[in-house]
């Protein structure tokens, strides 16, 4: 298998702002491997370290220990990001630009030739179903449309690896369904998708493999079927793995 994303003994500590307090450990010895062509779900409760892991992969946060690489290149080098697309959680894109202008701007950063950029803009706007609104300012878009613009910008360079941070967060069921369809389509095209989510039903539907982390530690990794095992659903498995005790009324 061709490993595209890899972390080895990844550790991230944040300094505590309070005087003489020990640093906060966000990740402890995280080992992950994502293979080419798979859809990988990254699960965990709030504050588990999902976004910190993504921030390290994108070079936003320097690891305290261990290493992380994309396509075999250390994530601290900007060139490691040439073949990836990234959709952050809840981003409000430049309100004064149209979707077309936004995508043209991002395609310039990838140094796409003009004709190729125009072809990619047409293709991604069609994929996210924003063709009819391409010349409208982004400030007039609904939340779902903004999220789809985000997905379009993540795909502008035809990336081999797509990193999505809670892509359906804050969307209505229809919006969620559309994003899920797009991920499914990308999977069919052979793209590698790494995404964090709280929507376990969605993860169960689209992911080949999942990893569950809690308190910065990897708790489980494997195929969805393996993780679920004898339990009723992925939700039950998730709650059990993260150590949640169900409360029963007296």
């Amino acid at each position: 298998m061709n490993v595209i994303l890899k972390t080895e003994k990844l550790r991230v500590e944040f300094k505590n702002r309070e005087f003489r307090q020990s640093p906060k450990i966000a990740l402890r010895r995280l080992d992950l491997e994502v293979n080419a062509g798979e859809v990988f779900g990254f699960l965990g409760p709030n504050g588990a370290g999902k976004t910190t892991t993504i921030n390290v992969l994108l070079g936003f946060v320097q690891p305290t220990g261990g290493s992380a690489s994309l396509f075999g290149i250390d994530v601290r080098q900007p060139i490691a990001r040439q073949r990836i697309g990234y959709l952050p959680e809840l981003t409000y894109y430049y309100k004064f630009l149209t979707a077309e202008e936004l995508l043209r701007f991002y395609s310039r950063i990838f140094s796409l030739p003009r004709a190729e950029a125009e072809r990619r803009i047409d293709a991604v706007l069609k994929l996210v179903e924003l063709e009819s609104s391409r010349k409208r300012l982004i400030k007039t878009y609904s939340k779902g449309m903004q999220q789809r613009v985000g997905l379009a910008q993540a795909l502008i360079n035809n990336p081999d690896l797509l990193i999505l941070d809670e892509p359906t967060s804050g969307l209505d069921p229809l919006g969620r369904m559309k994003v899920r369809e797009i991920i499914q389509r990308l999977k069919n095209e052979g793209k590698t998708v790494f995404f964090s989510s709280h929507e376990l039903g969605e993860v169960e539907t689209v992911c080949d493999r999942v990893a569950i982390i809690a308190e910065g530690e990897l708790k489980a990794i494997g195929r969805v079927g393996e993780i679920v095992g004898q339990r009723a659903s992925l939700e039950k498995a998730f709650l059990e793995i993260v150590g949640y005790q169900t409360q029963t009324a007296p």
Partner: protein, 259 residues
Amino acid sequence: MNNIFAVAGVVIKELYRRKDFYVLFILTIVICVIMASVNIFNDNQIIRYLKELCLLLIWISSLVIAITTTARQIPAEREQRTLLPLLAKPLSRAQLIFGKFLGCWLACGLVLVCFYIFFGALAASREHTWPLLNYFQAAFLHWIMLGVVIALTLLGSLVFAAPSSNSTICFVIVTSIMCIGRYLDAVALSLPEPRRSIVYSLYYAIPHLEIPFEMRNLIVHDWPLIGWNFVALDALYLLAYTAVFLVAACLVFRRKAVN
């Protein structure tokens, strides 16, 4: 360079799609046209006052536009979270800083062209002359000086979290330098040690922005052109300060967590 120009292009688009510039430009026109239409004390030389007022408004407007536009660049990117998808692309932090600087600087250059054309037209309506080279010298040094202000504000936007506090601090620093910076050496002479050395050090450390500011007098009083070598020397002096502030901004931004 491609990345720097791409970022700069977005900054310029932002400026002409927002209302700040239009409001200040229209306000300047309205004030100057009203002043020009009134005959005060039957003074034939009233055009000098009018030119002085118009140039003062241009200076205030250009500083307001330069500082407020620059101060919101990085904080807005952080607040709207657009910084994340941007830096997730093959764009270095230094390229982002230089792109933001270039965008703000070029946008301010376009603003100055509009303002100085209006000024020229206003002056020509009374004096019937177009001293283009004088206007060029004044506008050029004005623009180069705005480079220092923009670089300083960009550095401030990485240090102070709120754009409003950064704008206020930068505005106070810049106007203080323009108005009292040149007198610091004289003040130092009257002080005992060690305050004398401190004020002297300050005098030599601050960027002296008064020469572009005093170029107003050349065009208000129709004085002859100043030497081009002097213009070039002052431009180099100001560009050196711009470079220092930009390098400092890159160093600060390099250490900053973006999440």
